[in-house]
Every structure is written in structure tokens, then in C-alpha cells.
Subunit: 484 residues, 3 copies
């Protein structure tokens, strides 16, 4: 039976009426604020070329690891979902792949994907029936027809979504040509990049050899010498700042940092470059590079983001057939207090440095991260991340972090997504959950309403702009460059 | 002062009225569904002999570690509670032991035992006053009188409790004679077994020597050779399947798995058999045996249950005087991501395998277990377990697991109990807590009511039957056997 | 704009009306009960001299690490807050320091400091406007005027706060002269001490050398011999008992305990005394000393408190400039199950011993601490502590501990504070949060109202008195002494 897709105005607010009515009031003040998206993984070529998106499966299903990991967990093959493997994109019919999602949409009950997709369906495409086997083809056709119109091209959606700033993420060996094209196009959308040097820092990543080659090409440095390698980083950081970057991003297996003597760091680097790679040495080098990046930030002002704690590509069979990043990354225990000590002992009190910490290990919220951020001037906490970018996850973050770190040692919401159409949905969830959390504090007389009204604006808009230095005149960034 | 025992119809539902009324509606649809109990520890001899239970203390107090561990923690001796020690059952007067429970019933405030016992008292025995020092003798007499009647014999209670399937747990060295007797009795109760081979897998268990001897006797194999040992497992798994088993159960200290080469596994086994037991070797052998059991499951279809993470018999003095399993098992940190990698690398994508994971370490819910189960086709999550088989524990399980793993990578409720009379109470708690959790999602417009209505039935009935293969024609099981 | 400071009668109660009205009723029964503060860090010289407090900054800001750590985390220097450094108290104007707090009071939104301070401001000083830049000077003057009056001298506040017993904490090398002065003064306030021997147990503490010297002086023992060292502890424990102590307190980095043979313990001690200090040996000695202290408790009856799990003085730069205890202590993962095994194997069932466990690692609540306390007769759980001494922290403690350990294996609330004026605020928060927790259990029909009414009194008053042996005739304590 076809049933309506109802997307209620009170969604995600606490059921209790006293609290709900406060939440409604708080949310109303931020509902229409522009979106600040300082950390994400959309493809800048979309905005450079402004070509129409292909179809529902290609846009919404095949690239979204939240969707295909759940379907895969229930025995559905990635090929049937048209997910790219090492042999390329499967020949699967896109409509058939979409039907698999539709028939199995019940698997997403209780997950954030249910909320995000229904938001996209109802708010972006105006669909009014619920996704199911019966409505699958209607969805597929409706979405495809819309995507063929100019109103659904990337730049039009960017404007419609009221995005003030959108950051993508690129490697140090990448050319940033799409960002240059966007800037030169005359389109007013503020799309910036972020500096993610993992590929030339992690000697355990099988792609590092090729990345080093391109890192050398693009910088003209001898990246196999320690000084040349560091200089190449400085050059690229400058180029990224030129393309609007205000932050670097570091996705390491652990939060380990190190502070080796210069000679030791160089010897370690040269040994790794020679191919003498062990797990211990690779880990120590990643640790040392966080400190090196922090030192460069003293000069160029890039905000550091540290995203540790994922066991990447855990599924050996799938890595073999489909390669990396296929929904098989699994979080593990992550320690911060000892791990960050070397970096913090060196730079923890330096007003020029700003480090944003993320975690996949929620046990660190109240035990380690809130106490660290509630003390060290250089530290702030990123929002609940990845698996925890969800209503319950966001609420646990606020409940477990706030009492020790307060709100002002956090940085507002990051969507961290490659699913462009879900960006308004994700920010809307964050605004609603934060409204609900603040409403409870007000209802329990633990905060005044006037304070909550200020806070909801800060959490939505002010804090992300400040934390990512998007509130500073862009002139500053150019002058940093000029000095290089 | 004697006060009434009130067992409210709305118990365990959220207090907020909007949510409570939805919870009521959801619960009403599953309140009278049959009980599926696919994992538990009741004594099959009860149903084989159908002899009346002895008395209140013998049935409800002395064997229930939840009760006597709490009383012991407050300084009451196990002898005074008539708990069996190494010297046998103490001569303590049963009525006096019961009085100790009654006088100290306040200790159970806020614990699930309060709910379970009051359910048993009011719903099974029809008692209408609260347990206290004053009502102790009234309780003792009332319960004993009831137990002496035919209506309170094991089979009558089984039928009255509306149990569709009840699984017990036996070791590979045990004869299953009670299961055979039940089957031959003509009584229609579906009591099945589960294969729990720990006693012949854990060389650190002081009982393993005797278990090996009986394992050899019952299988006729040379269980001290590697091939004979594996063959003996295959034989017994077949015999257990013949007695209705659809699952094996593995209660290891950790979740470690291994995938040794054949020669290495054999060498390790032979070394252990020779008595060369170290903690490391015993651990590696348990790890390897999880993989061996998984390989056998590919052929015979037994669902694997892995229950890790308990430091057994932590209290040295009590182990000395009273032996194992006296309420002194304490959970510890449990790691899954690295631990399960060898097994998952070998078999994680094999559609013939199904593994149900349990934990005593709630920190693994959102960090490790939900991400693993939300990806690997072979994995499902068992319900909140043992210390966490409680309203708050169940709610944390749903809140921390659902957003990443969804509902359909979970397996419904297991009571896991040896307290037969508490089975309806425990299933009722699970149905109520799940109704409350779903009601909140509906009230917060994160799920439609029609979806919640389907889900509450799935969580209560469909998922446990499917996960434990109790929804398959039993013919299948026979044909598996015939093929051996 | 100046806005009113409203401190609502329903603060901290759940918003849902059914639950809130029960919470109100429960709270009303304990609102005016005397304060039992069996663990804290106020300065006994205040009560000995009864001199007026200096000013708002000196009393409320400069010594409160909750306040200055948050301000420091946002880039405000400790000097500007008049926090003592190694060079002494900065010359900063007290009024200017106070203005920094006032201007930045928004940083404390959502933290317990907001509640505690607003309680102090409104309930102790009668202020009716909210703290802000505009009201800063009004606050500073109002508070200072009050402090100059007799009604705000330490003893007057002690009486006004309705404190029945207040424990301070002293080291074994300290003279207890203030406690003697209080006793001899004829004032009726019951101020007792607690025995905290860390300074002569932790060879990694740079203060231990001087502490040993004074330990020798004050006891007349050869504290560099093992027997003399143990005897010195016995002597001082006796002296502390004479000054009212009923407990010892142990703030170790971990919960490790050890049970070495006599010769081994002595050899370890002598090696450390000789200066052969390694991290491993220092840790083993601390571990052994917990067992030695427990053995002494069998004789003299002191309740042991174990407070593990803090990485002290994490900020290297700040330790250098400002010394210890400047808000830079960061919790870490803390293991209890293996750590406590040696002590529990020796004494875990001894009715003469009582050990109260605290944690900064909330993951241990449901996994380790509740199962341990719900079994071992010697163990009880201290309340949520330090960073977790907050509404959310207290609620998580009850939610995660109660189902396994019950209420009666906990010890009620400890304020653990050096901020004397915040004591009523902190106890009020605990009473309100406990009332809210119990109210939810009643509203969900998981507990009868009559049980909740008994419990709220027990949690507030009965349990702390019993756990800290404050319910025993003081005569007993004297007779213990007489026997020495």
C-alpha cells in the first residue's frame, strides 16, 4: 500500500510539550540561517563544470557508503547496487539498483539515512509518497526528470541550499584546478578547499608512492629529502590558502603525536623513503608530522583538524575486489591523553595554533576530550562524527561534552559528507537536535531562554565561522600568501 | 506495614503521555505473542521428568545469582541463603533463607530483579501484597502450596507461559538424554538444545580433563588427535542438531579469533593436550577454535553465538569455598575489531555463515559492534546481555546500536536465564522497552507509526525466529543430518 | 541589558509534569536535611581562625580550578585571574580579575559552575541580577561588603549551611593543628580530617622527599626503614582518628593493587628510598601500599577511599610556570577488574574492611564498578566525581550503576570541593538529581512511591553517614585510640 511521505515540522524535537515548544522557538531563529560547511567531501568538479547530475542511482545510491554498507550487511551485492569495483562501474541497470534500495528501505528505519533521504525526497524533490517497492519507479523517474532541469544543476542547488561556504578536501599532490575554475567562472559560490596531506604522510598507504611522485611534480621540490619534503608542504599549504583553504585535515589511525629532534625526524623520514617501512616507524612518522604541520600552522594560520581512530578497509575480501573506501572502515578504541602530550607540551599554549579534535570513540567525550578542550587554549572539539553524525549521536556529544568543555570549546556542525543533496538535511538535523538539547536545559531551569537564543545562533553560525577562521577578512589570507 | 503489590499496566513505558500512548498501542500488538527463547540455561530435566518444583527458596532464591550476589555484597553469607557450596547444599532452613530475601528486598530497588520477582509473584503466583519481613512467611507458604499443584509443574508452566521454543545449553560431552526423553514423551513443548563446547576448548578450565574423557566416550573418537578431535565435534554437532539445536554458543574470555595454517593448529592442539598449557597458547587455541567452529557451520548450518568478555570467578576465596559460577564473574574491556579480523577475513562474506555477537562492554556498541554488524553480512548483534539485560541496559543498546546497524542486524531478545519462572517477565520487559523506544521515535517524527507497528512484531517474534533459523522447516535440519 | 537572576524552585527536575511533580515531592522531604560532607578539601584554618574571607576574587575565582581552567581554555591568562603562580599571587587588581569572569560568564553556560555560582550568588549573597560585564562591579562590591560582616565568617556560614559533618583532607606529614584548635575552641562545628598519605607513598611526586622528612619528624620513627615506615603510618592514622578521621584517601594514577611477600615489599621500599625510582617500581609500591593500608584498616577501622585515574599536571608549560594543581589534570582509561584483584583476593570478603571506589572513567560504571560492588562485601561506590559531579554526570552514574549494584552499594554524595561556599549548591544539585531519577522510576512504575521516599532520605543522609562510619558513637573512635 502506498503511504504518504510525511515530514513533520516538529521532527526531532523532544516529545514533552514544555520542552518541545521551547525547541520550536529556538529552531525558528536558525532555521533559515545560511549553511557553513567548513569540512566535507563533495566533488569540486561539480561546481566547476556545473554539469547536470546523471540519475538517482548515480547521485544518491552508488556513492553513498551509508546506504550500500547497510544493504551489503543484509546480503545484497555491491554490484547489484552499481557500486564501482576495481573493474569499474558494474553494468547493472540503474533502475534495478534503485529498486533494491526501495524494496529494502525498511532496513534504514531508525538510522540517520532514513531522515536524510526523506528530507531530500520531500524537500529537494517535492515527493509526497513514501519510498517502497511500489513507488520505486515513480521515484526513479521523478528524480531523473528533475535532475535534467537547470534548477537541479550543482550551482543552482548550492544557491538554493543557501550555502555560504562549502569546503572540499584535496591532497597535496592534487592540482586544485576545479577550485581555480570555480573562482574564474564568475559564479559567486564560495567553494574552498582543505589541505589533507595523508597520502604523502602515511607510508603504509599503498598509494603513497604515486602521491610522492605527483607531490614532487606539482611543487618542483626534492620531496625525498627532508628539507625538500617540508618545503613542498609549505608550498602546497600556500597554494591551498590561495584556493581559500583555512584548515588542514589529518585522518590518522591514532591520535599519536611526536616531537623528535630534527636529526631524528630526518633520519626516520629517509629510512621510510628508502622503503624501510615498519608499522612502528610509519606510526612514529605520522605522529611527528602532526607536530610538523602544527609548526607550519604557527606561520600560515591553517586550523588543524585531527580525525583519528578508524581501522580502514577492514574487510579483506572487499578490499581485494572493490578497493578502498567501501563502507568497511570500523572504529576502534582511541586514546588522546598520552597521544597528544608531545604536541601539546610543545605548542599547547601557543595562541597562534588552533586544533580541532574529532573522535569515533564516544567514550573519550567525557573522559578525555572535554577535559582536554576545557583546559588547553589550542584545542577545540569537532562535532559528533561519521557514525555518530545522527540524532542520538549528536545528543550524546552535547550531554557528555558540555558540562566540562562548555559550548564555546566546540566548533558547531560539520556535515563531512560527499552526498551533496543531503547537506541541508544534515545541517537541519544538527539545528533541531541542538535546539532540543538547549530546550531541555531551559525547561529544567539550567539555562535562561535568552542564553539559549544566543547559543543556538552561535552553534549554528558563529562558532563554525570563528573556528575555521571564516569570519576573518579574506584579505588576510592573501597577505599570508604574498609573504611566502 | 503491609502494602499492596501493584504491578501497573503502564510499567516501563516513558512517562511522557504522547510517547506513552504510542508505546501502549505498540505493546498491545505483541503482548500476547508466543515466547521465542532461543538462548537460555534452564534445566532440561525439569521438562523431561515434569516433577514438581521443591519450594520457593530452592526454585527462586538459591539458584539465582542475581539475587544472592546482591545479598552477598551486603554481607549476607551464601550458606544462610542455602546456596550450594563445595560441601553441598547447606542445611539452612529454607524458610529462614527466604526470610533473608524478604527482609532485604529493599536492596533490589532499581534493579531488574525487583521487576522480575514482582512479575513472578503477582502474575505467576497471584500474590497481592509486597514482599517484606512481615509477608515473608505468607509468600513462602503461598508459593510452596502452588508448587505442589499440577498447574505449577514445569510442562504446565511452559504451556501457560506460551513458549513456542525454548533452547537449553549443553556441553559436547553431555548425553542429551533429557532432550530425547522430552521428544519421546509425546508432550508437545518444543525444547531444543544448543552446542556449547567451551569445556573441551578451554584448556585453562580445570574441568577440561574430565570433559575430554567424556567427549571421547560419547563420540568414540580419539579426541587427543587433531583429526579425531575435530571429527568428534562434527559428530556431536550432528547429534545436537538431531536434538533440535540450531546454534552453537561460545563463552570465551575475549573475542579473539585466529586462522592458523593446518599444521600450526594441529601442533598447538597437541602441545596443549600434552599439558603444555600457557595463557597465550590457551588463548590462541580458543581463538582458532572459533574459526574451526565457523567452518563447520558452513556445512551444518549452526548459527554461532559469541559471548566474550567475562573475568570468571574473580573472587578467589569464594571460588575456593563454593566453586565456579557463584555471582563473582566480572566483565572487562572487550575488543572486537582486531579480535574478529582473522575470522572475518576468512569467512566474513560467506552467505552460509551467521554469527551473533554479544558483549558485556557497552562501550563497544556504537564504536565497534554496530559498525561491524552494519557492514559484514555474516554478523548480527545479540541483545543487551547479563548485567545489561535490564530496562536501562536495553534502552542503551537500542540507542547506541540502531543508528548504525539498524534493527534488522539485531536478533530480538534472548532471556539467557536459568530462572524458568522469570522467562515471561524478562520477555515482557523487552517488549515494553522496545515499545517505549519505538514510541519515542514515532513521537519525535523519526519513524511512522506503521513502521513501528511492523518493527515491534519483528523485534519480538520474527527476528529471533529468523536469526536462530527457527523459521525454517525442520525437515531441513534432518536432511543436514542425513548427509553426515 | 541587565537581566534578573532567576533561580527556579523546579530547577534540575525533569520537564515532564508527571515526573516533575513526583520529584518535587521527593525533594521536599530532603531539602532541609543537614549536610554530610565526608570528603572534601576546604581549609581547616578557616574554621580554626574564623577570620573573614578576603574578597570575591580571592574567595570565589582564584582558587577554583573549574573556573580558571575554562577561562584559560579560551585564551585568558591565569595571571589576569589572580591565580597563584610559582612567583606568588600576581599583582593583578582583584576587581579587574572579577571583571574577566563577569565578561566571560557565557563560557559557563551548560556547566555545573553556572549552577553552583548562581546558587551562591542568589542563595548565599541574595543577588537578584545576572552576572555580566554590566553587573560585575555591583557583584564585586556586594560580595565584598557581605564578606566583611560577621554573618559571612567561616563558622557562621558553616552553621547557616546546616553542615552536620565536614571532612577535610590532610597529609601524614601535617600537624592537624587547625583541627586541634577547632576542637579546643568550644565551637560546635564538627570538622574532621581524612588521612591522605599519597605524598609519602608516591615516589614519583617531587614533593615526597620533603614529606618523608616531616613524616619522620612528626612521628619520631625511622621512616626510611620498612618497619619504621609502616609504624609511622599506624601512628599517624591513630592521630588522625583522634582528630575525627573515619577514612583514608588514596589518589593514585591507577587502581593497581599488589600483595607482595613481606621480604619483597621491604626490598622494593628500600630500593625506592635509595633513589632507585623507576615508573614500574613506583607503581608497584603504590599498589602494595593500598594493600598495606587495607590491612591497617582491619585494625583501626578507617574506611579506604580509592580515587584513581588522573594524569596529573598534563600541561608541561603550565607546570613549569605555575606548579601543580592548576586545572591541567586529565582523566584517562582506568581498569579496575585486574587492578583490584590482588587486594580483593586477600581481603575482599573481610567484614572489617570497607573500600569506596571512585572513577573518572565513566565506562567503568556498568562494566566494572557496578559488577564489583554488586558482589564484593568490602566494596562500595563513591558518587560521580570531579568532572562528573554535575547533573548529567550524576544521572549517568545512577542510570549505569543502579541496575547492577543497587542503591545500597553506593555511599550518597561527596562534594569533594575546596570551594566552601559552593557546598550547599553541590548538595542541592545531588538531592535534586537523585529526586529526578527516583521520580522517573516511580513514574514508570518501576518503584513504589513509598520506596522512593525512603531512598531519597537514604541517599541524602543515611548512606553517607553509614558508609563513612559517622553513625557510630564517637566513643568508639576514642577507644580505638586508647588501645594504641
Amino acid at each position: 500500500m502506498v503511504r504518504p511521505l510525511m515530514f513533520h515540522d516538529d521532527r526531532l524535537f523532544p516529545a514533552e510539550e514544555r520542552t518541545r515548544s521551547i525547541a520550536r522557538e529556538l529552531y525558528a531563529t536558525v532555521r533559515d540561517l545560511p549553511i557553513i560547511s567548513p569540512h566535507g567531501h563533495t566533488d569540486p568538479s561539480w561546481f566547476a563544470s556545473n554539469a547536470p547530475f546523471q540519475d538517482a542511482t548515480d547521485l544518491l545510491l552508488a556513492p553513498d557508503h551509508y546506504l550500500y554498507r547497510m544493504l551489503y550487511s543484509q546480503g545484497i551485492s555491491l554490484d547489484a547496487l552499481k557500486v564501482r569495483s576495481k573493474s569499474g562501474v558494474p553494468a547493472t541497470d540503474a533502475r534495478e539498483a534503485w529498486r533494491l534500495l526501495a524494496h529494502n528501505f525498511h532496513l534504514f528505519r531508525g538510522t540517520p539515512s532514513w531522515i536524510w533521504l526523506n528530507h531530500v525526497f520531500s524537500q529537494v524533490f517535492g515527493i509526497e509518497v513514501f519510498l517502497s517497492g511500489e513507488t520505486s519507479d515513480f521515484y526513479f523517474d521523478t528524480i531523473n526528470e528533475a535532475l535534467a532541469t537547470d534548477a537541479f544543476r550543482p550551482r543552482a542547488l548550492f544557491d538554493r541550499f543557501n550555502i555560504e561556504t562549502l569546503a572540499t578536501t584535496e591532497g597535496p599532490h592534487e592540482t586544485l584546478k576545479h577550485h581555480h575554475a570555480i573562482r574564474e567562472s564568475g559564479w559567486g559560490g564560495h567553494v574552498i578547499t582543505a589541505y589533507r596531506p595523508d597520502a604523502v604522510i602515511d607510508f603504509e598507504d599503498e598509494r603513497s608512492g604515486r602521491a610522492f611522485e605527483r607531490f614532487a611534480e606539482v611543487t618542483g621540490q626534492d620531496v625525498y629529502s627532508w628539507q625538500g619534503y617540508l618545503e613542498a608542504h609549505r608550498i602546497r599549504r600556500g597554494a591551498f590558502i590561495d584556493a581559500g583553504a583555512t584548515s588542514s585535515d589529518h585522518g590518522h589511525p591514532t591520535a599519536a603525536t611526536a616531537d623528535l629532534a630534527d636529526g631524528e625526524a630526518e633520519a626516520l623520514f629517509l629510512s621510510l623513503v628508502k622503503g624501510e617501512v615498519t608499522a612502528e616507524k610509519a606510526e612514529l612518522f605520522r605522529a611527528q608530522m602532526l607536530t610538523e604541520m602544527a609548526k607550519m600552522s604557527l606561520d600560515d594560520g591553517l586550523v588543524m583538524q585531527i580525525h583519528p581512530g578508524s581501522h580502514r578497509n577492514h574487510n579483506a575480501g572487499l578490499l581485494d575486489s572493490h578497493g578502498r573506501d567501501k563502507g568497511a572502515d570500523i572504529p576502534g578504541q582511541t586514546e588522546y591523553v598520552k597521544a597528544l602530550k608531545p604536541l601539546l607540551s610543545k605548542l599547547g599554549n601557543d595562541p597562534r595554533l588552533s586544533v580541532i579534535l574529532f573522535t569515533l570513540d564516544e567514550t573519550s567525550y567525557s573522559r578525555e576530550l572535554a577535559p582536554l578542550a576545557g583546559h588547553y587554549p589550542v584545542l577545540k572539539l569537532g562535532p559528533s562524527w561519521w557514525f555518530h553524525d545522527s540524532p542520538e549521536g549528536m545528543m550524546r556529544f552535547r550531554e557528555q561534552v558540555t558540562e566540562t568543555a562548555g559550548f564555546y570549546n566546540t566548533v558547531g556542525f560539520n556535515d563531512d559528507t560527499r552526498a551533496f543533496l543531503s547537506i541541508p538535511a544534515r545541517h537541519d538535523v544538527a539545528r533541531r537536535v541542538d535546539s532540543g538539547f538547549l530546550a531541555r536545559l531551559v525547561a529544567e531551569h539550567r539555562m535562561d531562554l535568552v542564553e539559549a537564543q544566543e547559543l543556538i545562533v552561535d552553534l549554528t553560525y558563529t562558532l563554525p565561522k570563528r573556528a575555521y577562521k571564516l569570519d576573518q577578512p579574506r584579505l588576510n589570507l592573501s597577505s599570508v600568501q604574498a609573504a611566502q
